[in-house]
């Protein structure tokens, strides 16, 4: 007990003696594990490559600069594709995520023991697989190209959007819903008047946030052949055209900065 009585005076300590001993032991074990891991990792590292790293990095840097600026004329279409993949993918994901969110939220689900687990499974399944892997699967199914990229981004985003939305639905103010119910409104009317207005800020925030993430994700989809600027990136890497690689990286950076700026503006406007 933290409070001790010492000759009539109350002494307070955050922990008792036994507790602080326990804490010391925990720290000791933690440090020991860290030391062992450190040793294992250094044993299995080829140190030659590590010592060599600065020289190689410097080498690539000199090869990659200056970027090959005239190559930009060939990047307009791919970066446009990339933006479209992200935007369309996000829109499709939201359209599919809204019903899933309503089915998954414990206060709106039609059946807690049957429908809700299915909705949660959809959320977990789509979220747990990376969009690059979805793209690989979809390219095998529907062939390479932008469409595969859009669908990969859409599927990957359903779980993310639905999860954040259903959490927003579970946090709504129930008295507003009660008030709409008390007017004799149907279940659908209650949804439109009592619930939707309350989750609109969350919906808009999720949409912009996910769009922002999807722009980054769609830049790499081309690496596996799903369209967009990643396609240029992988072909330039394959032929070791470092000045082109550096230009592509700059274009991606610009796209991401712009999307960041747009989403910050939109989020500011909503809140």
């Amino acid at each position: 007990m933290p409070v001790k009585d010492l000759k009539g005076r109350q002494i307070w300590q955050p922990r008792t003696g036994r507790e602080s001993l326990f804490h010391w032991v925990l720290w000791l074990i933690g440090i020991a594990i860290f030391a062992v891991c450190w040793q294992r990792i250094s044993e299995s590292t080829t140190w030659f490559f590590v010592w060599d790293a600065p020289r190689i990095a410097n080498d690539i840097w000199t090869r990659a600069t200056p970027p090959r600026w005239e190559y930009i004329s060939q990047l307009g279409k791919p970066i446009w594709d990339t933006l479209n993949i992200a935007t369309l993918g996000t829109i499709i994901a939201l359209i599919l995520a809204i019903p899933v969110a309503f089915l998954a939220a414990s206060n709106t689900t039609p059946s807690r023991y049957f429908v809700r687990p299915i909705a949660l499974l959809i959320i977990v399944a789509t979220r747990s697989i990376n969009s690059l892997i979805w793209a690989l699967l979809l390219i095998a199914i529907i062939g390479p190209g932008v469409f595969a990229g859009v669908i990969a981004i859409a599927i990957r985003s359903i779980g993310f959007c639905a999860k954040l939305l259903y959490e927003a639905i579970e946090e709504i103010d129930t008295t507003q819903v009660e008030a709409i119910t008390a007017t004799g409104a149907t279940r659908w009317q209650v949804m439109v008047y009592g619930i939707m207005p309350q989750i609109m800020p969350a919906l808009a925030g999720v949409a912009v946030f996910r769009w922002d993430i999807n722009i980054r994700e769609s830049t790499v989809l081309g690496l596996v052949g799903a369209g967009g600027i990643g396609l240029q990136l992988s072909s330039s890497l394959n032929v070791l055209a470092w000045p082109q690689v550096s230009l592509i990286l700059l274009v991606i950076l610009a796209a991401v900065v712009i999307s960041e700026w747009v989403s910050a503006k939109v989020r500011g406007a909503i809140i």
């Binding site: 103010d173 008295t175 507003q176 009660e178 008030a179 709409i180 119910t181 008390a182 007017t183 004799g184 409104a185 149907t186 659908w188 009317q189 439109v192 008047y193 009592g194 207005p197 309350q198 609109m200 800020p201």
Partner: protein, 264 residues
């Protein structure tokens, strides 16, 4: 007009919120329901429009028995019962007009309400009501921009536009200052008189209840302890409802207040 017969509600936790409450409310009577927190006041009015389903007993609104209704029948009957809430329960992110018109949801179809294409007669009525409570100029404001008293007026409009026969009012003044509380109570009672509505008003403030209503029901542990005119609330009666306390001050204050109100 409204008849409760042995209405009982036992929650899953085993708490008995209502113990066989029997009540008969004639057409156009405004009734105050008083009692300590947890006495079952909110449960009682929610059992009437079945936001809470009663465990046993019956509720008759006119000739219709409410406890046995199917969900579509229940929706039809809910239109005849306007409800006013403690924390206003407006949909914060909708405009005042949308909030008032949401009282018509039981009468219009889904797509009309989704597209906000309410019949012109409903819109006219909404403007008339907003004008009656002095908020016509606020119709386009979002509900969360309004003050407490204004919000409660919008809540009243939403209940009245249903064209109800009965108002269920749950602590209408609990989050309002004393002056606004009186204004809101006066408004509710005036509107009930104008339209010949019956009303059940849950209220904590005994003095305020005495000032405005014709009949008071005292609830304690889910059972009716007192049923009579407001003058019948003697210190002894208040002690049986709420427990031992010096009640003289409360009752005296009522008389002073009444003088003051008449003087205004």
């Amino acid at each position: 007009m409204l008849r409760l017969n042995k209405l009982t509600k036992t929650y899953k936790t085993g708490d008995q919120a209502l113990k066989a409450v029997t009540l008969d409310i004639p057409e156009g009577q405004v009734l105050a329901l008083i009692g300590p927190s947890g006495a079952g006041k909110s449960t009682l009015i929610r059992c009437i429009n079945r936001l809470v389903d009663p465990t046993s007993g019956t509720v008759h609104l006119g000739d219709v028995e409410l406890t046995g209704l199917s969900s579509s029948g229940l929706r039809r009957e809910r239109r005849r019962m306007g409800m006013i809430f403690q924390e206003y329960a407006l949909v914060e992110r909708l405009t005042v007009m949308e909030n008032v018109l949401s009282g018509r949801l039981g009468y219009v179809g889904f797509w009309r309400s989704f597209l906000r294409r309410f019949p012109q007669s409903d819109v006219d009525e909404a403007f008339r009501l907003l004008d009656r409570v002095g908020l016509a100029h606020m119709a386009d404001k979002r509900a969360d921009e309004l003050s407490g008293g204004q919000r409660q007026r919008v809540g009243i409009c939403r209940a009245l536009i249903q064209n109800p026969a009965l108002l269920l009012v749950d602590e209408p003044t609990a989050s309002l200052d004393p002056k606004t509380s009186r204004q809101i109570m006066r408004l509710i009672c005036e509107l009930c008189r104008e339209r010949g509505l019956a009303a059940i008003i849950n209220i904590h403030d005994v003095a305020l209840a005495q000032m405005f209503v014709q009949r008071v029901i005292g609830l304690r542990f889910g059972a009716v302890e007192f049923d009579g005119p407001p003058e019948g609330l003697t210190p002894d009666v208040l002690t049986t409802i709420y427990g031992e306390e010096d009640w003289e001050a409360t009752i005296e204050k009522v008389e002073d207040d009444e003088d003051e109100v008449e003087a205004q």
